[in-house]
Amino acid sequence: MSAVPMEYYLILSAFMFCVGVAGVLIRRNAIVVFMSIELMLNSANLTLVTFSSYLGNSIGQVFVFFVMTVAAAEAAVGLAIIIAIFRNKLTVNIDAINIFKW
């Protein structure tokens, strides 16, 4: 495994993180925004696993396990929120659900 320099993984994860950030900022569909956030979380997971593996220490992977739990919980709540809003407004476009100024 030492064949792949650690930086490669980190750069890939940084790239995914930034793509996720860009997705949150430019997309208007709430579900896609949420998916972009999942992308960010996954990039963080990749970093954690990379470090964990190169440190030879499993704490990072335990943490990833918790992040996944949280992501699942967030997905349940987040999608419930999106369903609730869809029932009222029949749209999940962030721009269209603006009563207040954003």
Binding site: L48, L55, V70, E74, V77, I81, A84
Partner: protein
């Protein structure tokens, strides 16, 4: 670390709330009367835990192989969380009926969020911070949209959720880098070797990302854009909860992560970061609040600027300023919960009567509420000798000690600006004549919350040493 039975009494608050949640779920499932029982049960739970915690501040213990720090600083925070939550529960009883969302689940979620906060404030490991944060946040996402028939609540909930999860992304990425550079998630390790780690650029980057994520949670400029909409759209009592104890929980994490700076006097590498966001928050929050006509929205911007004042303490990073932050958080909890309780009484169905115009001539409708909202506004504006003043005083004191006089000056200037919009409420309540006619339905629970908040604002104002003494003994 060996933990014999004797030491478990310090764990009581966590056990009580945890068991309370389970009991509440059982109660909710098993009986139709849960709606009437749960609020009182929760209030009892919270008051009990708060009082129990405050008597344990002079003990300190790290349990569960360095996961949880009980007693000491965490006991102070537990008191703030539980007391605040108890007041909010009292204020919710009648309000949630008016808001058409008096579910038993509401109280279970509040209990869970408080458990999350307690875990955040007691964390000695980044795992605990993260899990506590998420437990609290997920409860808040739901609480913000608890009445799913209301579009405003839906919107608040969605915005809070998306930006909260976005912030979580930053926090997790930051944690990943911190873990990678320190090889552990223990805060003890982080604090002890802080200076050594800080030479590693990736560690500093991780800390900054972590702090950016939490800056979202405390609503500091430029990470504040969600605040006004969420605070305005959520149920008033929920806003009261999020803006006070929720914020206190996030600040407790800042204080934990800056432990090296506070306890060991390590150089504060993040001074300039905190100084900048605090100056921005104070000024932007105050300036935008001036033009707000909706009281909830105005208080949302004011909470941004209050976050700024508290962050001054983080920039200063000495013991005085940290004690100041904790004092400020306690005072802010009482002031804001009081203010939001008054708003919840005045508020009508369908989010009506949250505008400042509804407060015109309040004095003739209800002298009590007029006096109370004025007291809360003066306290928020930092007029001595009310609790809000001492919060600011301690924080400024720490800042000047840390040679951040310029920040203190920015702070007082933005206080002057903020005076304008706070006393505007008083102007409407006392100096203007009533424009609309409505009945104010008095409510025992809410009035109790208001009176308790007001009493503590006065007590903390006249005898600040009572609380500050406890705080200093807790953070030594």
């Amino acid at each position: 670390m060996p933990a014999n039975n004797f030491e478990y009494y310090l764990l009581m608050p966590y056990i009580v709330i945890g068991v309370g949640i389970v009991l509440s779920v059982v109660l909710e499932i098993s009986t139709k009367k849960s709606k009437e029982l749960l609020p009182w049960f929760s209030a009892l739970l919270f008051f009990g835990t708060a009082i129990y915690s405050i008597f344990n501040v002079d003990q300190g213990l790290v349990l569960f192989s360095g996961m949880l720090e009980v007693g000491g600083k965490s006991a102070i925070f537990n008191t703030i969380f539980n007391f605040g939550a108890a007041l909010i529960v009292l204020a919710s009883i009648d309000f949630m009926k008016k808001y058409e969302a008096d579910f038993g689940e509401y109280y279970i979620l509040i209990q869970s969020s408080v458990l999350g906060m307690m875990i955040m404030a007691s964390a000695r490991d980044i795992f605990m911070i993260f899990m506590g944060l998420e437990l609290m946040s997920i409860c808040f996402y739901v609480l913000a949209g608890i009445n799913r028939k209301k579009s405003s609540a839906n919107e608040a909930s969605l915005k809070y959720f998306l930006l909260g999860a976005f912030a979580t992304g930053f926090i997790v990425y930051g944690i990943a880098l911190i873990y990678g550079t320190t090889g552990s998630t223990s805060i003890q390790n982080l604090v002890e070797n802080f200076v050594g780690y800080s030479s590693n650029i990736l560690f500093v980057l991780g800390m900054i990302l972590f702090f950016v994520g939490f800056s979202f949670k405390v609503a500091a400029v430029p990470f504040h854009m969600w605040v006004p909409d969420v605070y305005q759209g959520s149920a008033t009592t929920v806003t009261g909860l999020m803006s006070t104890v929720g914020k206190a929980a996030a600040f407790s994490v800042f204080i934990i992560m800056l432990g090296a700076v506070v306890t060991y006097g390590a150089p504060n590498f993040f001074k300039s970061y905190f100084a900048v966001i605090s100056a921005l928050s104070m000024v932007v929050g105050s300036v935008i609040a001036i033009s707000q006509d909706n009281l909830k929205r105005m208080l949302a911007y004011s909470s941004v600027s209050h976050a700024g004042y508290m962050i001054i303490g983080l920039a200063a990073g000495n013991k005085y300023s940290i004690a100041g932050i904790i004092f400020y958080l306690a005072a802010y909890a009482f002031m804001n919960i009081g203010a939001f309780s008054v708003i919840s009484v005045i508020e009508g169905k369908d989010d009506s009567r949250t505008g400042i115009k509804s407060y015109a001539g309040l004095q003739s409708k209800s002298p009590f509420l007029a006096a109370m909202i004025s007291l809360f506004m003066f306290a928020l504006a930092g007029i001595p000798p009310l609790a809000g003043f001492f919060g600011k005083y301690y924080v400024f004191f720490g800042a000047i000690q840390a040679n951040l006089t310029w920040l203190a000056i920015v702070g007082v200037l933005s206080s002057v600006i903020s005076v304008y919009f706070y006393i505007r409420v008083v102007v409407y309540a006392y100096f203007k004549n009533s424009e609309e006619d409505f009945e104010i339905e008095s409510s025992v629970g809410t009035y109790a919350a208001i009176i308790i908040s007001a009493a503590f604002i006065l007590i903390l104002g006249f005898f600040p040493d009572m609380l500050l003494g406890i705080i200093t003994s807790a953070i030594k």
